[in-house]
């Protein structure tokens, strides 16, 4: 296994910058800040270390694919794109402007976005189609689909696992952002998902469950790809909704946030280890 240890400081610095971008997008109309923060490390790791995707190979049929099925965490993706040179940083300021295409869910007007999303439970099946074609053509591309834990309520996610198993899609990796929350409440308080590892295993997948904020753990897991010949790969990444901002971490009521300018300034300081922000903006907990 390659060592990622020397890369970790760089990854951490990138992830911190991505979190800054996310916080800056959480005003002037707001964004899904909590889910974006839980997925940030995962997305930074995958694009920086694992996936063969860069600004020069976006049109190559041999590149890897990442499908962001949960969709509402797209600020983490845009922040990562900005840091890795796929997207001009200045465009992040166009969030929600009619002059650009940066809004609450992903769309293919942004180079590097493979498919639009926002309606949950769609991209696991789109990813299956891409993985099937790669198999038919004998390609080596890796296909990732990031799925929210709340998203697993949708039946199509489980249909996709059945089909991926039937077609032995070991070139496909479903990554579950297991941040323990769906829009309004903790997943286990509404539609319990556990034991999640066992569920995927019973459906025929090869499963790894890891700390989704540890670059070392991410690297160890993804370096073992493909986990088992002929099996769908599943990574359950245990994460924290709102990771990096103690004032919103694990808070059910901080789902979609539209902070004021002062709060954004304070949250940026909080991100860098200063005092906890006093949030006064109305909490919005709707899906």
């Amino acid at each position: 296994m390659q060592s990622v240890t020397t890369h970790i400081p760089g990854l951490e610095a990138t992830a911190l910058k991505v979190r800054e971008h996310i916080i800056k997008m959480s005003t002037g109309g707001g964004c899904f800040v909590g889910a974006s923060l839980s997925a940030a490390d995962l997305i930074v790791y995958l694009y920086s270390e694992f996936l063969n995707i860069n600004k020069n190979n976006l049109d190559s049929p041999d590149r890897d694919y990442l499908f962001l099925s949960k969709g509402h965490d797209v600020p983490a993706l845009y922040g990562t794109f900005a840091e890795l040179g796929l997207l001009e940083k200045s465009r992040l300021k166009n969030h929600l402007s009619t002059a650009d295409h940066i809004y609450w869910h992903p769309n293919t007007h942004i180079p590097g976005i493979e498919f639009h999303s926002g309606s949950l439970g769609h991209l696991p099946s789109v990813a299956i189609g891409v993985a099937m074609d790669i198999k038919i053509r004998g390609g080596k591309n890796k296909v990732i689909c990031i799925i929210g834990d709340g998203e697993l309520n949708e039946g199509t996610c489980w249909e996709a696992v059945l089909v991926a198993n039937a077609y032995k899609l070991d070139n496909l990796i479903f990554v579950i952002d297991r941040n323990q929350f769906q829009a309004n409440m903790a997943t286990e308080d509404l539609i319990p998902l556990e034991p999640l590892h066992d569920k995927f295993t019973a459906f025929g997948a090869a499963v790894k469950r890891i700390n989704g904020h540890s670059f070392e753990a991410l690297h160890k897991a993804f370096s073992a790809y493909p986990f088992q010949e002929g099996k769908l790969n599943v990574v359950i990444a245990d994460t924290v909704r709102g990771k990096g901002l103690p004032s919103i971490e694990r808070r059910a009521d901080r789902w979609f946030c539209n902070f004021n300018a002062q709060e954004v300034e304070d949250l940026l300081k909080e991100l860098h280890g200063e005092t906890i922000t006093q949030l006064t903006s109305e909490t919005l907990v709707v899906r």
Partner: protein, 312 residues
């Protein structure tokens, strides 16, 4: 009275009512604690929620179900059509952030074909209130009708005092001989502005709030089109299958013609942004609509458009 207050009061006084949601709690925030086991949240499972609602209705309940308009009408479409439509069960669909109200979410969340889809289902009834007062005025009759019903929820506030709701009847706001505007839902707000601007330009202006799209008030449509030189249809829906189509069907059915100018989304989704910017970008502010009808610009000032309380 708000939507949530009316629903709470109705459900507490009539135990046939079951409040359901596919984890969309914006409209029913305080209901879980008040309704006990007659509040059911199925999680993010729109199809299963509709199937379960049909099962509850089979046992004599009136399920009032909540989800985002696009997922309720499209993801669960076959369940609505097959499980509520075919057996004609009183499943009541409360459809959240329809049309332009999905503002910055993007095309996945834009329900701009919901009227077309829902009115195509036999037995289904379809309603689109102009604002929260209109909604609350209409709901008791809708909830108590024996059919499945689709309600394009609109909880925005306007100053307009609506007249009592009569089943299958449109609300005629004014009559005019030059232009009559037919509209429903959110854009009623802008239609009031259009009416003022056109009046100031010396035109005789009619305005009709359709309210009920199925059954539709054919007489109101015929009267409007036959008494005005120009009829305008105004809707945050695709041109296909919505009000413009309904008007065309009614005119054809009665073998009459009229000059009709539609304002609708023609073969496109709208640009995602905050609601005021969406209306401006798509040309749906009252001032823009009025000037398109007039064919010239005016000195009129577009009043501020409020940002929805719930963005998503």
């Amino acid at each position: 009275m708000s939507y949530e207050e009316l629903l709470t009061q109705t459900a507490l006084s009539d135990d046939r009512f079951i409040v359901m949601t596919a984890e969309n709690r914006a409209l029913v925030r305080n209901i879980p604690g008040k309704l006990g086991n007659r509040f059911i949240d199925t999680g993010i499972t729109e199809q299963t929620m509709i199937g379960a609602a049909a099962g509850l209705a089979l046992r004599g309940r009136i399920p009032v179900v909540h989800a985002l308009a696009s997922f309720l009408t499209m993801r669960a479409f076959e369940f609505v059509r097959t499980d509520a439509g075919i057996p004609n069960l009183p499943v009541k669909l409360s459809s959240f952030i329809p049309g332009f109200l999905s503002d910055g979410n993007g095309p996945t969340h834009q329900a701009v074909e919901d009227i077309a889809l829902m009115r195509g289902i036999p037995n289904m009834t379809v309603f689109a209130p102009a604002d929260e007062q209109d909604l609350v005025e209409m709901l008791p009759q809708i909830w108590n009708c024996p059919n499945p019903s689709y309600i394009r929820i609109n909880t925005r506030k306007t100053d307009y005092q609506h007249s009592p709701f009569e089943w299958g009847k449109a609300e005629v706001i004014s009559k005019g001989t030059d232009v009559t505007i037919l509209t429903y839902g959110l854009l009623f707000e802008q239609a009031l502005i259009v009416k003022e601007i056109l009046k100031n330009e010396g035109l005789s202006v009619g305005l009709v709030n359709l309210r009920s799209l199925k059954p539709v008030d054919e007489q109101a449509i015929l009267t409007a089109t036959q008494s005005s030189n120009l009829t305008v249809t105004l809707e945050d829906h695709f041109l296909t299958g919505g009000l413009y189509s309904i008007v065309a069907e009614v005119l054809l059915k009665h073998s009459v013609t009229a000059k009709v100018l539609p304002f609708a989304l023609n073969e496109k989704w709208f640009k995602p942004s905050l609601l005021p910017n969406v209306l401006q970008h798509e040309g749906f502010t009252g001032k823009q609509i009025a000037e398109k009808i007039l064919g010239y610009t005016t000195r009129s000032v577009q009043p501020e458009i409020s940002i929805p309380q719930f963005s998503e």
